[in-house]
């Protein structure tokens, strides 16, 4: 072979030069192709991004959406992203201000009685086409939400209105709704039963107004595109490119023009990838981003402005209380309760910034009589006690008449945090009680289907608030509640839920929540895991962004740009 090397080398060199020429042509070709494709993509109109995070000159704030809103029809929307967008562009009777207090919005004053309420609407509240917002628009919206033909998933929140439930079941026509427009600016509501927290309900988006003529003109596609929505909030949606971006501009017809400080809020990116949003934040392209545990140290080194808030949700293990299930046994649940420590889960295992160890069904931020509910009614959650736990386990074995427990099925979602949690519990119960858990990992809908049909022993579940009252958590384990997926049944708990629903006196209601909390812990209905916190970074020039557990989050209505 050695004699052939010279000729091989000359061939190689010549071929190498040839390749270089080809490479040159290839790069030129690719460049040309890119110009062509860029032109083609401009035809599709799906452009997003480009501006800096804040632009004081034009008053533009650039941020992101975690997901594309499925649609923006306030009477049908269910998800949090839609709620956040709607909170900027639609206004109900009342709203939450930057300190999370209920304040007047379309209603300028209101009165709540035992059996009904009256709202007096302001004269200068206008729709984005210049027409006034009237009491009729609210009545129409509520009828729409309750109409069985529309199948709104949040219709239940309108059941507070007289005949609401019967209308939604199709037993009564929508015209029998217990809400009337006395005149254009006076709205009267009758309650189904005495209710102390109706003011908190009307701040929810299902209660937002819809104008009949416009709604019907969209022939079923209301809320599908920016021009198929009528706005009455501080902002209007200027453009909505599905999957790519959503851009809001200050509403010139809004009655409280001083409230919106920035001219444009540009949701220029739609992605749920936490690293991508953090990278965009680093690149000064968006004004806030959520931090993951692994980015926290870096964020502190960079001296970024870090904030945190509780997003309102609690997460826990829910037992299957159906008859015949091992987990229906009180002693087995007690044993598992006493063998776990949520502080270990939160601080040593998941280690996510801002999370709190779970102790109760009621999260810490809920208001009680004068202060926080959890300060007035401490959870007194039992500390880990392995001796007691094993005693309960023996009792359970005796009661069930078995020597050894078969593996219990732990149903979980397929996200990273569920995986970590499931493995942690698997290990804890094996070590502390000699109990085996079989992890059944399912994607979103499958997990829900199995929860509904009761195909589990334990499930990693959670709950987020719909309105700002402890009842949004408190009635979860009532025997009639459809979201009571473990089918826990306890007449005593039901009794206290009825008190909380119907009682007018705040102290008596909060006492009821105290009792509900006690029962849930004493009977080990659930094993609290954690309360979710969110840690995030904001642009130094952006001020006044509001995060909240109940209501539109995040809220940029009051945000402004400094400098």
């Amino acid at each position: 072979m050695s004699d052939a090397i010279t000729s091989e080398d000359s061939l190689t060199r010549a071929a190498g030069r040839q390749l270089l020429t080809f490479a040159f042509f290839a790069i030129a070709g690719i460049a040309l192709l890119m110009v062509g494709l860029a032109w083609a993509s401009s035809l599709t109109g799906a452009a997003s991004g480009g501006n800096n995070a804040v632009d004081p000159e034009t008053g533009t704030l650039t941020v992101f959406l975690r997901e594309e809103p499925p649609q923006l029809n306030s009477s049908l929307s269910t998800d949090q992203v839609s709620g956040s967008v709607l909170g900027h562009v639609i206004e109900g009777l009342l709203r939450y201000d930057e300190h999370n207090r209920l304040v007047t919005a379309v209603a300028e004053r209101w009165e709540i009685r035992e059996h009904g309420a009256t709202f007096w609407l302001r004269q200068d509240a206008l729709w984005s086409d210049g027409e006034p917002v009237t009491a009729h628009d609210f009545v129409f919206a509520w009828k729409t939400g309750l109409d069985p033909a529309n199948a709104s998933e949040y219709a239940f929140i309108l059941y507070a209105i007289k005949n609401g439930e019967a209308i939604n079941r199709g037993e009564l026509p929508t015209s029998t709704i217990g809400a009337r427009a006395i005149d254009d600016h006076t709205l009267e509501v009758d309650f189904e039963r005495p209710l102390a927290y109706f003011d908190k309900l009307v701040a929810f988006s299902t209660y937002a107004p819809l104008r009949e003529d416009f709604y019907l003109a969209t022939s079923g596609a209301y809320g599908a595109d920016a021009d198929k929505i009528l706005y009455n909030g501080p902002f209007v949606i200027e453009s909505w490119v599905h999957g790519a971006s959503l851009r809001m501009r200050k509403n010139p017809l809004y009655w409280d023009r001083e409230r919106a400080k920035v001219e444009v809020i540009d949701f220029a990116y739609i992605t749920s990838d936490a690293n991508a949003t953090l990278n965009l934040f680093k690149d000064d392209k968006i004004a806030y981003a959520t931090l993951q545990a692994e980015n926290l140290n870096n964020a502190m080194e960079q001296r970024w402005h870090i904030d945190r808030f509780m997003d309102g949700s609690v997460f826990y293990i829910e037992f299957n209380h159906r008859e015949g299930r091992l987990t229906a046994n009180h002693h087995l649940r007690k044993a598992m309760q006493l063998a776990t420590d949520s502080a270990e889960l939160v601080y040593k295992v998941t280690k996510l910034p801002g999370y709190l160890p779970g102790e109760s069904l009621f999260p810490v931020w809920l208001q009680g009589v004068d202060g926080y509910l959890r300060e007035e009614y401490p959870a007194n959650y039992p500390a880990m006690d392995l001796e007691q736990a094993r005693w309960h386990l023996e009792q359970a074995k005796a009661e069930l008449g078995i020597d050894e427990f078969p593996p219990l099925v732990l149903l979980t979602g397929d996200n990273p945090i569920s995986n970590i949690q499931a493995e942690y519990y698997q290990q804890v119960f094996r070590k502390n009680l000699g109990l085996d858990l079989k992890i059944d990992k399912q994607i979103f809908k499958q997990r829900l289907a199995k929860m509904l049909s009761g195909d589990f022993d334990l499930v990693l579940a959670g709950w987020g608030p719909d309105y700002d009252d402890p009842l949004t958590f408190g009635d979860l384990f009532a025997s009639w509640n459809l979201n009571n997926r473990g089918q826990y049944r306890n007449p005593e708990l039901d009794k206290w839920v009825r008190v909380a629903q119907n009682e007018q006196d705040t102290k008596a209601r909060m006492d009821a929540f105290g009792e509900i909390q006690r029962i849930i812990i004493d009977d080990a209905v659930i094993l609290p895991g954690y309360e979710r916190g969110v840690t995030y970074v904001t642009h130094p020039q952006m001020k006044g962004m509001v995060r909240r557990a109940v209501g539109p989050d995040p809220d940029f209505t009051n945000a402004w740009i400094e400098g």
């Binding site: 071929a15 190498g16 991004g49 599905h242 992605t271 990838d273 690293n275 680093k282 289907a449 509904l452």
Partner: protein
């Protein structure tokens, strides 16, 4: 030639029908359905929803209705994006995925051929060792890692220069396409490089190259006309499926770079059990894949006349 094309087309249609049927029944047999949500609804609301979407009929009846609609080119309305037609979702978002995909395939194809040829020329020498090391990396590192690293590099690059050299994420201009399409094409490029290298090496030792050398052809001619042209054939074969794989597999890249492509609808639909979107995207992508394979087979006959189309 025409007979062959027709035969392939009919086979393709049967394949697509099979894909649609299998997906339909598989989808209806997993636990859960698109109507289940975080908040449980009453029996009445559930019944209303089922009636609205026709889910209250027996599965085989739904199948016949659905197939009838597909034949008319109507994929129905999405369950999660409640007011959007699946046809609109495909029409609005597939072009984005296609643009990204085309560019990625061109990167992968040209890059694979060039690097493959280069490594074959310099086999067992430094360029070969370096490139083959990178190729192994390219094949084994998953795209979400590559995408994240690429994006972080962009952030640091912009930070270094003090202005926006290349956008970190987003879509719309020429500059938005460059890095995402390279990331998307990287795995395929690595694979094609390896394929091209081995195919080149096989040909170098073949008789017709020896003949070409013996009759005194200039080296560039031997390389271009005899080696490259013959070695490229296997690359063309896998290019068709690669185009489909790249165009449909952009989910991660689309998510990381916030690109409004079809890939994320494809994946999210499965997680949400959004029946109509699952069917629409699967049938559409299936048809696309079948079409690409046929095109490549036809191209094959054109590049290598020895291949008979029959």
């Amino acid at each position: 030639m025409w007979r062959y094309t027709l035969k392939r087309l009919i086979q393709g249609i049967i394949t697509i029908w099979f894909i649609a049927t299998a997906t339909f029944f598989a989808m209806h047999n997993v636990p859960g359905d698109p109507l289940i949500n975080d908040r449980s609804v009453t029996e009445d609301i559930r019944a209303n929803l089922e009636a609205k979407y026709g889910l209250n009929r027996p599965t085989h009846e739904q199948y016949l209705i659905y197939m009838g609609n597909i034949l008319r080119g109507d994929f129905g309305i999405s369950f999660t994006q409640k007011n959007r037609m699946v046809n609109d979702i495909i029409r609005e978002h597939f072009p984005v995925s296609a643009i990204l995909g085309i560019l990625a395939v061109v990167f992968a194809g040209l890059g694979g051929v060039l690097w493959g040829a280069l490594t074959a020329l310099y086999r067992n020498r430094l360029p070969d060792v370096i490139i083959m090391f990178l190729v192994i990396l390219g094949i084994s590192v998953p795209s979400f890692v590559v995408a994240a690293i690429a994006q972080l590099t962009l952030v640091n690059l912009n930070d270094l220069f003090g202005f926006s050299v290349l956008p970190v994420a987003g879509w719309g201009t020429l500059w938005h396409m460059l890095v995402p399409s390279m990331v998307l094409g990287l795995g395929t490029m690595a694979y094609l490089t390896r394929l091209m290298r081995s195919s080149m090496l096989e040909i170098v030792n073949s008789d017709f190259i020896r003949t070409a050398k013996a009759k005194g052809l200039p080296p560039t001619r031997i390389f271009t006309t005899h080696q490259l042209r013959n070695a490229i054939l296997p690359v063309i074969t896998v290019l068709g499926p690669s185009i489909a794989a790249i165009t449909t597999g952009g989910f991660v890249v689309e998510l990381v770079f916030a690109i409004p492509g079809l890939g994320r609808y494809f994946v999210q639909a499965v997680q949400q059990l959004d029946y109509t979107v699952i069917m629409g995207t699967t049938v559409f992508y299936g048809a696309f894949l079948v079409f690409m394979v046929i095109v490549v087979d036809l191209l094959y006959g054109w590049i290598d006349p020895r291949v008979r189309l029959e």
